[in-house]
Protein backbone atom coordinates (compact mmCIF):
# COMPACT_ATOMS: atom_id res chain seq x y z
CA UNK A 1 0.00 0.00 0.00
CA UNK A 2 1.15 3.51 -0.75
CA UNK A 3 0.82 6.78 1.11
CA UNK A 4 -0.65 8.68 -1.84
CA UNK A 5 -3.74 10.64 -0.88
CA UNK A 6 -6.78 8.50 -1.22
CA UNK A 7 -4.84 5.59 -2.71
CA UNK A 8 -5.66 3.07 -0.03
CA UNK A 9 -9.30 3.86 0.38
CA UNK A 10 -11.96 2.89 -2.07
CA UNK A 11 -12.83 5.54 -4.62
CA UNK A 12 -16.06 6.01 -6.55
CA UNK A 13 -16.10 3.78 -9.60
CA UNK A 14 -14.11 4.91 -12.58
CA UNK A 15 -11.86 7.21 -10.60
CA UNK A 16 -8.30 6.81 -9.50
CA UNK A 17 -6.53 8.47 -6.65
CA UNK A 18 -5.05 11.88 -7.43
CA UNK A 19 -7.08 12.38 -10.59
CA UNK A 20 -9.54 15.25 -10.79
CA UNK A 21 -12.87 13.88 -9.62
CA UNK A 22 -15.00 16.16 -11.77
CA UNK A 23 -15.45 15.40 -15.45
CA UNK A 24 -17.54 17.26 -18.03
CA UNK A 25 -20.06 14.45 -17.87
CA UNK A 26 -20.29 14.94 -14.12
CA UNK A 27 -21.03 18.66 -14.64
CA UNK A 28 -23.68 17.85 -17.23
CA UNK A 29 -25.40 15.24 -15.09
CA UNK A 30 -25.42 17.51 -12.05
CA UNK A 31 -26.82 20.47 -13.97
CA UNK A 32 -29.48 18.29 -15.57
CA UNK A 33 -30.41 16.95 -12.12
CA UNK A 34 -30.72 20.42 -10.59
CA UNK A 35 -32.80 21.78 -13.49
CA UNK A 36 -35.02 18.70 -13.57
CA UNK A 37 -35.70 18.96 -9.83
CA UNK A 38 -36.66 22.62 -10.07
CA UNK A 39 -38.96 22.10 -13.06
CA UNK A 40 -40.56 19.03 -11.50
CA UNK A 41 -41.22 20.87 -8.26
CA UNK A 42 -42.75 23.77 -10.14
CA UNK A 43 -45.01 21.62 -12.30
CA UNK A 44 -46.19 19.49 -9.38
CA UNK A 45 -46.82 22.46 -7.11
CA UNK A 46 -49.99 23.50 -8.90
CA UNK A 47 -50.74 26.36 -6.48
CA UNK A 48 -47.37 27.94 -7.20
CA UNK A 49 -47.96 27.64 -10.95
CA UNK A 50 -51.40 29.23 -10.74
CA UNK A 51 -50.42 32.02 -8.35
CA UNK A 52 -47.45 32.90 -10.55
CA UNK A 53 -49.89 33.48 -13.41
CA UNK A 54 -52.72 35.09 -11.49
CA UNK A 55 -50.61 38.06 -10.35
CA UNK A 56 -49.73 39.44 -13.84
CA UNK A 57 -53.15 38.51 -15.19
CA UNK A 58 -54.87 40.58 -12.51
CA UNK A 59 -52.66 43.49 -13.48
CA UNK A 60 -53.49 42.96 -17.13
CA UNK A 61 -57.25 42.45 -16.84
CA UNK A 62 -57.99 44.82 -13.96
CA UNK A 63 -55.25 47.40 -13.47
CA UNK A 64 -54.53 47.98 -17.16
CA UNK A 65 -58.20 48.10 -18.08
CA UNK A 66 -58.80 50.69 -15.36
CA UNK A 67 -55.87 52.85 -16.35
CA UNK A 68 -56.51 52.63 -20.08
CA UNK A 69 -58.62 55.75 -20.04
CA UNK A 70 -56.41 57.67 -17.62
CA UNK A 71 -53.13 57.22 -19.45
CA UNK A 72 -52.57 58.34 -22.99
CA UNK A 73 -49.48 56.99 -24.66
CA UNK A 74 -47.57 58.67 -27.48
CA UNK A 75 -45.93 56.64 -30.20
CA UNK A 76 -42.60 55.44 -28.83
CA UNK A 77 -40.25 52.76 -30.18
CA UNK A 78 -40.62 49.87 -30.68
CA UNK A 79 -44.30 50.67 -31.31
CA UNK A 80 -45.12 52.17 -34.69
CA UNK A 81 -48.61 53.30 -33.89
CA UNK A 82 -50.77 54.29 -30.95
CA UNK A 83 -51.23 51.34 -28.64
CA UNK A 84 -53.54 50.37 -25.84
CA UNK A 85 -52.20 50.52 -22.31
CA UNK A 86 -52.59 46.73 -22.02
CA UNK A 87 -50.19 46.33 -24.93
CA UNK A 88 -47.70 48.67 -23.27
CA UNK A 89 -47.61 46.93 -19.92
CA UNK A 90 -47.45 43.37 -21.27
CA UNK A 91 -43.60 43.32 -21.47
CA UNK A 92 -43.53 44.93 -18.02
CA UNK A 93 -45.73 42.16 -16.66
CA UNK A 94 -43.45 39.55 -18.20
CA UNK A 95 -40.61 41.30 -16.38
CA UNK A 96 -42.75 41.16 -13.25
CA UNK A 97 -43.14 37.41 -13.65
CA UNK A 98 -39.39 37.05 -13.86
CA UNK A 99 -38.73 39.46 -11.01
CA UNK A 100 -41.06 37.57 -8.68
CA UNK A 101 -39.71 34.26 -9.88
CA UNK A 102 -36.14 35.39 -9.20
CA UNK A 103 -37.16 36.42 -5.70
CA UNK A 104 -39.12 33.20 -5.25
CA UNK A 105 -35.96 31.23 -6.09
CA UNK A 106 -34.10 33.37 -3.62
CA UNK A 107 -36.76 32.65 -1.01
CA UNK A 108 -36.49 28.94 -1.70
CA UNK A 109 -32.71 29.15 -1.26
CA UNK A 110 -33.17 30.74 2.16
CA UNK A 111 -35.84 28.15 2.99
CA UNK A 112 -33.60 25.30 1.80
CA UNK A 113 -30.78 26.70 3.88
CA UNK A 114 -32.93 26.93 6.98
CA UNK A 115 -34.42 23.49 6.38
CA UNK A 116 -31.03 22.04 5.56
CA UNK A 117 -31.53 20.73 2.02
CA UNK A 118 -29.17 23.41 0.72
CA UNK A 119 -26.41 21.64 2.61
CA UNK A 120 -26.75 18.56 0.44
CA UNK A 121 -26.12 20.71 -2.60
CA UNK A 122 -23.21 22.51 -1.00
CA UNK A 123 -21.36 19.36 0.09
CA UNK A 124 -21.45 17.68 -3.31
CA UNK A 125 -18.06 17.60 -5.05
CA UNK A 126 -18.69 20.45 -7.48
CA UNK A 127 -17.56 24.08 -7.41
CA UNK A 128 -20.03 26.42 -5.76
CA UNK A 129 -20.08 28.81 -8.71
CA UNK A 130 -21.26 25.93 -10.88
CA UNK A 131 -23.96 24.90 -8.41
CA UNK A 132 -25.22 28.47 -8.18
CA UNK A 133 -25.29 28.88 -11.96
CA UNK A 134 -27.17 25.58 -12.29
CA UNK A 135 -29.70 26.74 -9.70
CA UNK A 136 -30.01 30.02 -11.57
CA UNK A 137 -30.58 28.33 -14.93
CA UNK A 138 -33.20 26.10 -13.37
CA UNK A 139 -35.08 29.09 -11.94
CA UNK A 140 -34.80 30.97 -15.23
CA UNK A 141 -36.21 27.96 -17.09
CA UNK A 142 -39.24 28.06 -14.82
CA UNK A 143 -39.73 31.81 -15.38
CA UNK A 144 -39.54 31.40 -19.19
CA UNK A 145 -42.20 28.73 -19.00
CA UNK A 146 -44.42 31.09 -16.99
CA UNK A 147 -43.79 33.97 -19.40
CA UNK A 148 -44.87 31.92 -22.42
CA UNK A 149 -48.05 30.74 -20.71
CA UNK A 150 -48.81 34.39 -19.87
CA UNK A 151 -48.15 35.44 -23.48
CA UNK A 152 -50.46 32.70 -24.71
CA UNK A 153 -53.29 33.96 -22.47
CA UNK A 154 -52.56 37.57 -23.53
CA UNK A 155 -52.80 36.49 -27.17
CA UNK A 156 -56.40 35.44 -26.62
CA UNK A 157 -56.97 38.84 -24.98
CA UNK A 158 -55.96 40.39 -28.31
CA UNK A 159 -52.49 41.38 -27.23
CA UNK A 160 -50.65 39.95 -30.18
CA UNK A 161 -47.08 40.60 -31.31
CA UNK A 162 -45.62 39.58 -34.69
CA UNK A 163 -44.96 35.82 -34.66
CA UNK A 164 -41.19 36.37 -34.93
CA UNK A 165 -41.39 38.30 -31.69
CA UNK A 166 -42.32 35.12 -29.85
CA UNK A 167 -39.02 33.62 -30.98
CA UNK A 168 -36.89 36.74 -30.43
CA UNK A 169 -38.19 37.11 -26.92
CA UNK A 170 -36.67 33.77 -25.89
CA UNK A 171 -33.00 34.94 -25.62
CA UNK A 172 -34.20 38.19 -24.04
CA UNK A 173 -36.14 36.23 -21.41
CA UNK A 174 -33.10 34.07 -20.80
CA UNK A 175 -30.85 37.05 -20.08
CA UNK A 176 -33.41 39.00 -18.05
CA UNK A 177 -34.29 35.84 -16.10
CA UNK A 178 -30.64 35.22 -15.36
CA UNK A 179 -30.10 38.82 -14.26
CA UNK A 180 -33.11 38.89 -11.92
CA UNK A 181 -32.35 35.39 -10.66
CA UNK A 182 -28.75 36.40 -9.92
CA UNK A 183 -30.09 39.36 -7.95
CA UNK A 184 -32.25 36.93 -5.99
CA UNK A 185 -29.23 34.70 -5.33
CA UNK A 186 -27.23 37.68 -4.16
CA UNK A 187 -30.00 38.71 -1.78
CA UNK A 188 -30.35 35.16 -0.47
CA UNK A 189 -26.67 35.17 0.48
CA UNK A 190 -27.39 38.15 2.75
CA UNK A 191 -30.64 36.96 4.28
CA UNK A 192 -30.15 34.93 7.41
CA UNK A 193 -33.70 33.97 8.20
CA UNK A 194 -36.87 33.41 6.27
CA UNK A 195 -38.64 36.13 8.26
CA UNK A 196 -36.30 38.73 6.81
CA UNK A 197 -37.67 38.03 3.39
CA UNK A 198 -40.55 40.45 3.92
CA UNK A 199 -37.91 43.18 3.90
CA UNK A 200 -36.84 42.11 0.44
CA UNK A 201 -40.39 42.52 -0.78
CA UNK A 202 -40.63 46.03 0.62
CA UNK A 203 -37.16 47.28 -0.14
CA UNK A 204 -36.28 45.50 -3.38
CA UNK A 205 -39.18 44.06 -5.35
CA UNK A 206 -41.70 46.89 -5.04
CA UNK A 207 -39.27 49.81 -5.56
CA UNK A 208 -37.67 47.97 -8.45
CA UNK A 209 -41.00 47.31 -10.10
CA UNK A 210 -42.62 50.70 -9.55
CA UNK A 211 -39.48 52.70 -10.35
CA UNK A 212 -39.22 51.19 -13.79
CA UNK A 213 -40.64 51.41 -17.28
CA UNK A 214 -42.85 48.39 -16.64
CA UNK A 215 -45.97 50.47 -16.00
CA UNK A 216 -45.22 53.83 -17.62
CA UNK A 217 -42.75 55.08 -20.24
CA UNK A 218 -39.73 57.13 -19.18
CA UNK A 219 -40.92 60.37 -20.77
CA UNK A 220 -44.12 60.14 -18.75
CA UNK A 221 -42.11 59.65 -15.55
CA UNK A 222 -39.95 62.67 -16.42
CA UNK A 223 -43.03 64.86 -16.61
CA UNK A 224 -43.73 64.26 -12.94
CA UNK A 225 -40.24 63.86 -11.42
CA UNK A 226 -36.73 64.17 -12.87
CA UNK A 227 -35.25 62.26 -9.94
CA UNK A 228 -37.67 59.40 -10.45
CA UNK A 229 -36.88 59.51 -14.16
CA UNK A 230 -33.16 58.98 -13.45
CA UNK A 231 -33.86 56.24 -10.93
CA UNK A 232 -36.08 54.46 -13.42
CA UNK A 233 -33.57 54.92 -16.22
CA UNK A 234 -30.72 53.32 -14.28
CA UNK A 235 -32.85 50.61 -12.73
CA UNK A 236 -31.64 47.29 -14.21
CA UNK A 237 -35.22 46.05 -14.16
CA UNK A 238 -36.22 48.89 -16.56
CA UNK A 239 -33.49 47.84 -18.95
CA UNK A 240 -34.57 44.20 -18.78
CA UNK A 241 -38.16 45.23 -19.51
CA UNK A 242 -37.07 47.37 -22.46
CA UNK A 243 -35.00 44.50 -23.84
CA UNK A 244 -38.06 42.24 -23.61
CA UNK A 245 -40.32 44.93 -25.13
CA UNK A 246 -38.08 45.44 -28.16
CA UNK A 247 -37.49 41.69 -28.61
CA UNK A 248 -41.25 41.05 -28.62
CA UNK A 249 -41.49 43.32 -31.66
CA UNK A 250 -38.50 41.74 -33.39
CA UNK A 251 -36.06 44.54 -32.51
CA UNK A 252 -32.76 44.55 -30.67
CA UNK A 253 -32.18 47.22 -28.03
CA UNK A 254 -28.39 47.16 -27.68
CA UNK A 255 -28.27 49.58 -24.74
CA UNK A 256 -30.79 47.50 -22.76
CA UNK A 257 -28.98 44.29 -23.69
CA UNK A 258 -25.56 45.52 -22.54
CA UNK A 259 -26.96 47.04 -19.37
CA UNK A 260 -28.80 43.83 -18.46
CA UNK A 261 -25.74 41.71 -19.30
CA UNK A 262 -23.45 43.85 -17.13
CA UNK A 263 -25.98 43.81 -14.28
CA UNK A 264 -26.15 40.01 -14.55
CA UNK A 265 -22.35 39.67 -14.38
CA UNK A 266 -22.11 41.99 -11.38
CA UNK A 267 -24.96 40.30 -9.46
CA UNK A 268 -23.70 36.81 -10.27
CA UNK A 269 -20.10 37.54 -9.30
CA UNK A 270 -21.29 39.09 -6.04
CA UNK A 271 -23.56 36.10 -5.32
CA UNK A 272 -20.66 33.69 -5.91
CA UNK A 273 -18.52 35.69 -3.49
CA UNK A 274 -21.46 35.76 -1.06
CA UNK A 275 -21.69 31.97 -1.10
CA UNK A 276 -17.93 31.38 -0.92
CA UNK A 277 -17.20 29.94 2.52
CA UNK A 278 -13.89 31.78 2.83
CA UNK A 279 -14.98 35.17 1.53
CA UNK A 280 -18.70 35.67 1.69
CA UNK A 281 -21.55 36.24 4.01
CA UNK A 282 -21.82 32.60 5.01
CA UNK A 283 -18.99 33.02 7.51
CA UNK A 284 -20.55 36.03 9.15
CA UNK A 285 -23.95 34.39 9.30
CA UNK A 286 -22.63 31.17 10.74
CA UNK A 287 -24.70 29.02 8.46
CA UNK A 288 -24.74 27.75 4.93
Amino acid sequence: MTNRPGADLHLPEGRRAGQPCVTLLHYWRAMRGIIWRELWRFVTQRERFISALVRPLVWLFVFAAGFRAALGLAITPPYETYILYEVYITPGLIGMIQLFNGMQSSLSMVYDREMGSMRILMVCPLPRWFLLISKLLAGTGVSILQAYVFLAIAWFYDIQAPWQGYLWIMPALLLSGLMLGALGLLLSSFIKQLENFAGVMNFVIFPMFFMSTALYPLWKVKESSVLLYHLAQYNPFSQAVEMIRFALYGQFNSMAFIYTLVAFIVFMASAIIGYNPSKGMMMRKGGA
Binding site: M1, R4, P5, R29, R37, G286, A288
Partner: protein
Protein backbone atom coordinates in the same frame (compact mmCIF):
# COMPACT_ATOMS: atom_id res chain seq x y z
CA UNK B 1 -5.04 -3.07 6.70
CA UNK B 2 -2.19 -0.64 7.09
CA UNK B 3 -2.59 1.08 10.45
CA UNK B 4 -1.08 4.33 9.11
CA UNK B 5 -4.06 4.94 6.82
CA UNK B 6 -6.12 7.86 7.99
CA UNK B 7 -9.60 8.48 6.61
CA UNK B 8 -10.23 11.74 8.45
CA UNK B 9 -7.58 13.88 10.04
CA UNK B 10 -8.21 17.06 12.00
CA UNK B 11 -5.10 18.98 13.07
CA UNK B 12 -4.85 22.03 15.32
CA UNK B 13 -8.31 23.18 14.31
CA UNK B 14 -9.61 26.37 15.85
CA UNK B 15 -12.65 28.41 14.91
CA UNK B 16 -14.34 31.54 16.20
CA UNK B 17 -17.63 33.29 15.56
CA UNK B 18 -16.43 36.87 15.67
CA UNK B 19 -14.58 37.03 18.98
CA UNK B 20 -16.24 33.96 20.47
CA UNK B 21 -14.16 30.79 20.35
CA UNK B 22 -16.14 27.77 19.18
CA UNK B 23 -13.26 25.32 18.74
CA UNK B 24 -9.79 25.42 20.21
CA UNK B 25 -6.87 23.31 18.97
CA UNK B 26 -8.94 20.27 18.06
CA UNK B 27 -6.89 17.24 17.01
CA UNK B 28 -7.99 13.71 16.13
CA UNK B 29 -7.70 11.04 13.46
CA UNK B 30 -10.15 8.39 12.30
CA UNK B 31 -9.15 5.14 10.65
CA UNK B 32 -11.18 3.20 8.07
CA UNK B 33 -13.49 0.59 9.61
CA UNK B 34 -13.64 2.56 12.83
CA UNK B 35 -16.75 4.00 14.39
CA UNK B 36 -15.95 7.17 16.31
CA UNK B 37 -18.53 8.76 18.54
CA UNK B 38 -18.19 12.49 19.06
CA UNK B 39 -19.78 13.08 22.42
CA UNK B 40 -20.48 16.51 23.77
CA UNK B 41 -23.16 18.58 25.47
CA UNK B 42 -25.14 21.18 23.54
CA UNK B 43 -22.88 24.04 22.48
CA UNK B 44 -19.74 21.89 22.69
CA UNK B 45 -18.84 22.70 19.06
CA UNK B 46 -19.99 19.48 17.38
CA UNK B 47 -22.05 21.19 14.69
CA UNK B 48 -19.30 23.75 14.04
CA UNK B 49 -16.83 20.91 13.61
CA UNK B 50 -19.18 19.20 11.14
CA UNK B 51 -19.64 22.43 9.21
CA UNK B 52 -15.87 22.76 8.91
CA UNK B 53 -15.38 19.15 7.80
CA UNK B 54 -18.10 19.55 5.16
CA UNK B 55 -16.60 22.89 4.05
CA UNK B 56 -19.77 24.79 4.83
CA UNK B 57 -17.46 27.00 6.86
CA UNK B 58 -13.95 27.92 5.87
CA UNK B 59 -11.03 26.44 7.77
CA UNK B 60 -8.82 29.34 8.81
CA UNK B 61 -6.75 27.88 11.64
CA UNK B 62 -5.72 24.28 11.37
CA UNK B 63 -6.12 21.61 8.76
CA UNK B 64 -8.70 18.97 7.81
CA UNK B 65 -7.88 16.09 5.50
CA UNK B 66 -10.23 13.48 4.07
CA UNK B 67 -8.31 10.44 2.78
CA UNK B 68 -5.25 12.65 2.46
CA UNK B 69 -7.01 15.44 0.56
CA UNK B 70 -6.94 18.86 2.17
CA UNK B 71 -10.53 20.13 2.44
CA UNK B 72 -9.39 23.69 1.77
CA UNK B 73 -7.03 23.16 -1.15
CA UNK B 74 -8.40 19.95 -2.69
CA UNK B 75 -12.03 20.58 -1.83
CA UNK B 76 -13.70 18.59 -4.59
CA UNK B 77 -11.50 15.52 -4.17
CA UNK B 78 -12.06 15.63 -0.44
CA UNK B 79 -15.83 16.11 -0.69
CA UNK B 80 -16.09 13.16 -3.11
CA UNK B 81 -14.94 10.98 -0.20
CA UNK B 82 -17.60 12.19 2.15
CA UNK B 83 -21.12 10.99 2.92
CA UNK B 84 -23.15 13.14 5.30
CA UNK B 85 -26.33 12.74 7.30
CA UNK B 86 -27.26 16.07 8.80
CA UNK B 87 -29.18 16.56 12.00
CA UNK B 88 -32.15 18.11 10.22
CA UNK B 89 -33.90 16.18 7.49
CA UNK B 90 -32.49 17.30 4.17
CA UNK B 91 -34.81 15.32 1.92
CA UNK B 92 -37.24 17.01 -0.43
CA UNK B 93 -40.63 16.17 1.05
CA UNK B 94 -42.52 16.64 -2.22
CA UNK B 95 -40.36 14.19 -4.15
CA UNK B 96 -40.44 10.41 -3.94
CA UNK B 97 -37.68 8.38 -2.30
CA UNK B 98 -36.39 7.43 -5.73
CA UNK B 99 -36.42 11.03 -7.01
CA UNK B 100 -34.49 12.22 -3.97
CA UNK B 101 -31.90 9.53 -4.43
CA UNK B 102 -31.59 10.10 -8.18
CA UNK B 103 -31.03 13.79 -7.51
CA UNK B 104 -28.14 12.89 -5.24
CA UNK B 105 -26.60 10.51 -7.79
CA UNK B 106 -26.77 13.21 -10.45
CA UNK B 107 -24.95 15.64 -8.12
CA UNK B 108 -22.24 13.02 -7.82
CA UNK B 109 -22.08 12.53 -11.58
CA UNK B 110 -23.29 8.95 -11.60
CA UNK B 111 -24.79 7.52 -14.79
CA UNK B 112 -28.37 6.26 -14.85
CA UNK B 113 -27.52 2.55 -14.87
CA UNK B 114 -24.95 2.77 -12.11
CA UNK B 115 -27.27 5.01 -10.08
CA UNK B 116 -30.22 2.61 -10.35
CA UNK B 117 -27.99 -0.28 -9.35
CA UNK B 118 -26.59 1.51 -6.30
CA UNK B 119 -30.01 2.79 -5.23
CA UNK B 120 -31.46 -0.72 -5.39
CA UNK B 121 -28.50 -2.23 -3.48
CA UNK B 122 -28.61 0.29 -0.67
CA UNK B 123 -32.40 0.44 -0.36
CA UNK B 124 -32.62 -3.36 -0.23
CA UNK B 125 -30.06 -3.46 2.58
CA UNK B 126 -32.40 -1.34 4.66
CA UNK B 127 -35.61 -3.03 3.45
CA UNK B 128 -36.80 0.16 1.81
CA UNK B 129 -36.80 -0.84 -1.85
CA UNK B 130 -40.54 -1.54 -1.93
CA UNK B 131 -41.21 2.00 -0.76
CA UNK B 132 -39.07 3.72 -3.38
CA UNK B 133 -41.99 5.38 -5.18
CA UNK B 134 -43.56 6.81 -2.03
CA UNK B 135 -43.29 10.51 -1.34
CA UNK B 136 -40.89 11.29 1.52
CA UNK B 137 -43.70 13.17 3.26
CA UNK B 138 -45.54 9.84 3.68
CA UNK B 139 -42.63 8.18 5.51
CA UNK B 140 -42.18 8.20 9.27
CA UNK B 141 -39.10 9.73 10.93
CA UNK B 142 -37.21 6.44 11.15
CA UNK B 143 -37.73 5.63 7.49
CA UNK B 144 -36.71 9.13 6.42
CA UNK B 145 -33.48 8.66 8.34
CA UNK B 146 -32.92 5.35 6.58
CA UNK B 147 -33.35 7.06 3.23
CA UNK B 148 -30.84 9.71 4.27
CA UNK B 149 -28.32 7.04 5.23
CA UNK B 150 -28.91 5.31 1.90
CA UNK B 151 -28.36 8.59 0.12
CA UNK B 152 -25.12 9.29 1.98
CA UNK B 153 -23.76 5.90 0.87
CA UNK B 154 -24.76 5.93 -2.81
CA UNK B 155 -21.47 7.36 -4.10
CA UNK B 156 -19.46 4.93 -1.94
CA UNK B 157 -17.83 7.44 0.39
CA UNK B 158 -14.85 6.53 2.57
CA UNK B 159 -15.97 8.69 5.47
CA UNK B 160 -19.51 8.88 6.82
CA UNK B 161 -20.50 11.81 9.03
CA UNK B 162 -23.69 11.61 11.05
CA UNK B 163 -24.80 14.60 13.06
CA UNK B 164 -27.08 13.34 15.81
CA UNK B 165 -29.06 11.22 13.33
CA UNK B 166 -31.30 9.55 15.90
CA UNK B 167 -32.70 12.69 17.50
CA UNK B 168 -36.48 12.49 17.68
CA UNK B 169 -36.72 8.82 16.75
CA UNK B 170 -38.45 6.12 18.77
CA UNK B 171 -36.30 3.53 20.55
CA UNK B 172 -36.59 0.66 18.01
CA UNK B 173 -35.77 2.99 15.06
CA UNK B 174 -32.85 4.44 17.02
CA UNK B 175 -31.41 1.05 17.92
CA UNK B 176 -31.72 -0.29 14.40
CA UNK B 177 -29.94 2.74 12.93
CA UNK B 178 -27.14 2.57 15.52
CA UNK B 179 -26.65 -1.12 14.80
CA UNK B 180 -26.74 -0.67 11.03
CA UNK B 181 -24.12 2.06 11.05
CA UNK B 182 -21.79 0.01 13.26
CA UNK B 183 -22.24 -2.90 10.90
CA UNK B 184 -21.49 -0.64 7.91
CA UNK B 185 -18.22 0.54 9.41
CA UNK B 186 -16.98 -3.03 9.64
CA UNK B 187 -18.42 -4.48 6.42
CA UNK B 188 -17.63 -1.51 4.18
CA UNK B 189 -14.39 -0.50 5.89
CA UNK B 190 -16.02 2.87 6.37
CA UNK B 191 -14.73 5.52 8.74
CA UNK B 192 -17.71 6.77 10.73
CA UNK B 193 -17.88 9.97 12.76
CA UNK B 194 -21.10 10.00 14.76
CA UNK B 195 -21.99 13.10 16.75
CA UNK B 196 -24.25 12.27 19.64
CA UNK B 197 -25.24 13.18 23.12
CA UNK B 198 -26.82 9.81 23.81
CA UNK B 199 -24.47 7.60 25.79
CA UNK B 200 -26.36 4.39 25.05
CA UNK B 201 -25.44 4.73 21.37
CA UNK B 202 -21.81 3.98 22.16
CA UNK B 203 -20.61 0.40 21.55
CA UNK B 204 -17.74 -1.07 23.61
CA UNK B 205 -15.46 -1.25 20.54
CA UNK B 206 -16.04 2.36 19.51
CA UNK B 207 -13.54 5.16 19.49
CA UNK B 208 -14.65 8.06 21.65
CA UNK B 209 -13.98 11.78 21.44
CA UNK B 210 -15.39 13.96 24.19
CA UNK B 211 -15.76 17.57 23.13
CA UNK B 212 -16.52 20.24 25.67
CA UNK B 213 -16.53 24.02 25.20
CA UNK B 214 -14.72 23.59 21.90
CA UNK B 215 -11.90 21.48 23.31
CA UNK B 216 -11.18 17.76 23.06
CA UNK B 217 -11.30 16.50 26.64
CA UNK B 218 -10.72 12.84 25.83
CA UNK B 219 -9.80 10.88 22.73
CA UNK B 220 -9.39 7.11 22.70
CA UNK B 221 -11.17 3.79 22.87
CA UNK B 222 -13.97 3.39 25.36
CA UNK B 223 -11.64 1.49 27.70
CA UNK B 224 -8.94 4.14 27.42
CA UNK B 225 -11.38 6.93 28.27
CA UNK B 226 -12.67 4.95 31.26
CA UNK B 227 -9.11 4.38 32.46
CA UNK B 228 -8.04 8.01 32.04
CA UNK B 229 -11.02 9.26 34.02
CA UNK B 230 -10.95 6.37 36.44
CA UNK B 231 -14.67 5.89 35.90
CA UNK B 232 -16.76 2.72 35.91
CA UNK B 233 -19.15 3.86 33.15
CA UNK B 234 -19.14 6.16 30.15
CA UNK B 235 -21.75 8.26 31.87
CA UNK B 236 -19.46 8.85 34.85
CA UNK B 237 -16.49 9.51 32.57
CA UNK B 238 -18.53 12.03 30.64
CA UNK B 239 -19.67 13.78 33.82
CA UNK B 240 -16.16 14.03 35.13
CA UNK B 241 -14.83 15.39 31.82
CA UNK B 242 -17.57 17.95 31.44
CA UNK B 243 -17.90 18.74 35.12
CA UNK B 244 -21.42 17.46 35.42
CA UNK B 245 -23.01 18.96 32.32
CA UNK B 246 -25.77 17.06 30.59
CA UNK B 247 -24.82 15.31 27.37
Amino acid sequence: MNSSIVALSVEDLSFSYGGKKALTQVNFKIQPGECTVLLGPNGAGKSTLFSLITRLYDTRDGRIELCGFDIKRQTLLALAKLGVVFQQTTLDMDLSVMQNLRYHTSLHGMGRKQAEQRIQQELERLNMYDRRFEKVRQLNGGHRRRVEIVRALLHKPSVLLLDEPTVGLDVPSRLSIVEYVHQLAVEENLAVLWASHLIDEIYPGDHLIVLHKGQVKANGTVDEVLNITNSPTIKDAFYSLTQGEQA
